[in-house]
Symmetry: C2
Subunit: 204 residues, 2 copies
């Protein structure tokens, strides 16, 4: 069972992830959290020591949530194209829910701020691009995708699409965001499955 301290810490970090996604990581402060959650500022200081550490702990918590909500369920899908689809679909749900995507907001916020927070964030995104590329590589091995597919290129294009979805969803408030993104994914996967023209050329 969680101790009282762990429970409090959980409540704080859940709220911090929500605030971070909707208002930005810079909006996180020990004072703000203390006020929102009616906790003592000194108690929060004991938990997190500094704003920077609070931001890093919040990124770690968001990463745990992402693993639980996106990666783990998608890994239950069959290896190959089904798993690539499941990763993307879960991610789309994550990115277009209320508040938007914690990570896509944070990377824009910290892209010009070198330091430990940016380093932790950069690692999460590199890990995620690796996860997408690995799923694509497996799909090549399984024969779902063409042999000459560059898995990192596909990962980059999936990532770009999600940024576009996030933009439409949050900025333009386009109700089409998910449909457009899914249509774009279909085109990407169609191209990944086969290069019929290329295959034809090679045969002749």
């Amino acid at each position: 069972m969680a101790t009282k301290g762990e429970t409090t810490r959980n409540v704080i970090l859940e709220h911090a992830v929500y605030l971070g996604a909707s208002m930005g990581l810079e909006s996180l402060s020990i004072g703000r959290l203390a006020e929102d959650l009616e906790l003592s500022k000194s108690g929060l200081f004991a938990h997190f020591k500094s704003k920077e550490n609070l931001q890093i702990e919040t990124i770690r918590r968001a990463t745990q949530q992402f693993v639980v909500e996106v990666i783990s369920p998608a890994l239950k899908a069959d290896r190959g194209e089904p798993r690539c689809r499941a990763l993307f679909e879960r991610w789309l749900e994550w990115a277009t829910r209320k508040g938007g995507c914690f990570f896509l907001s944070a990377i824009q916020e910290f892209d010009d701020r070198p330091g430990p927070v940016r380093d932790v964030l950069a690692k999460t995104q590199a890990d995620w691009l690796d996860t997408l590329a690995t799923a694509a590589r497996i799909a090549v091995d399984e024969g779902d995708f063409r042999k000459n597919l560059d898995p990192r290129q596909l990962a980059f294009e999936m990532y770009s699409l999600m940024m576009g979805a996030h933009f439409l969803y949050r900025f333009v408030n386009d109700r089409m965001a998910r449909e457009r993104t899914r249509a774009a994914l279909e085109r990407l996967l169609k191209d990944a499955r086969q290069d019929r023209l290329g295959a034809h050329k090679r045969k002749n």
Copy 2:
């Protein structure tokens, strides 16, 4: 000839666009600009009245720059696919130069801040998506792109790709950013040019 007031205003806004792109629109303040440019704070107040107005004037100036550097030269390319390519290529240069893209930074910053600044920004992005979609529609009319192409879908995908490029360039510092983006564009255009499988099906 520009008056002294106009010249000063130009110098201020050029610097404001640069700061906005690299540090964010929120970093713009009359005090900061006065310090950087060794001008009097009261003089800057006379020019811009408020921080919000300064931000809006800065967006307008960035839009003028974008028209001069991206749109006008690209419109000299032939109607059809060449013009779509020219728009994208000029835009890629704009987005991956020192400081990054003023607009892609600003929309991330203001996506959760309703108000006049966000409204002006939203209009710039809606106009730009329209410009891209119009170029794609012309390419359909010219016979370069397939008849059943959705020009707004292509515009969305070009936009997403640029967000991905901007992310790789600014956050991951990936020297591959431009190559990956160009490779993705090639596939996008290949898909726009023809739907051979679909054409085959329709013929039978």
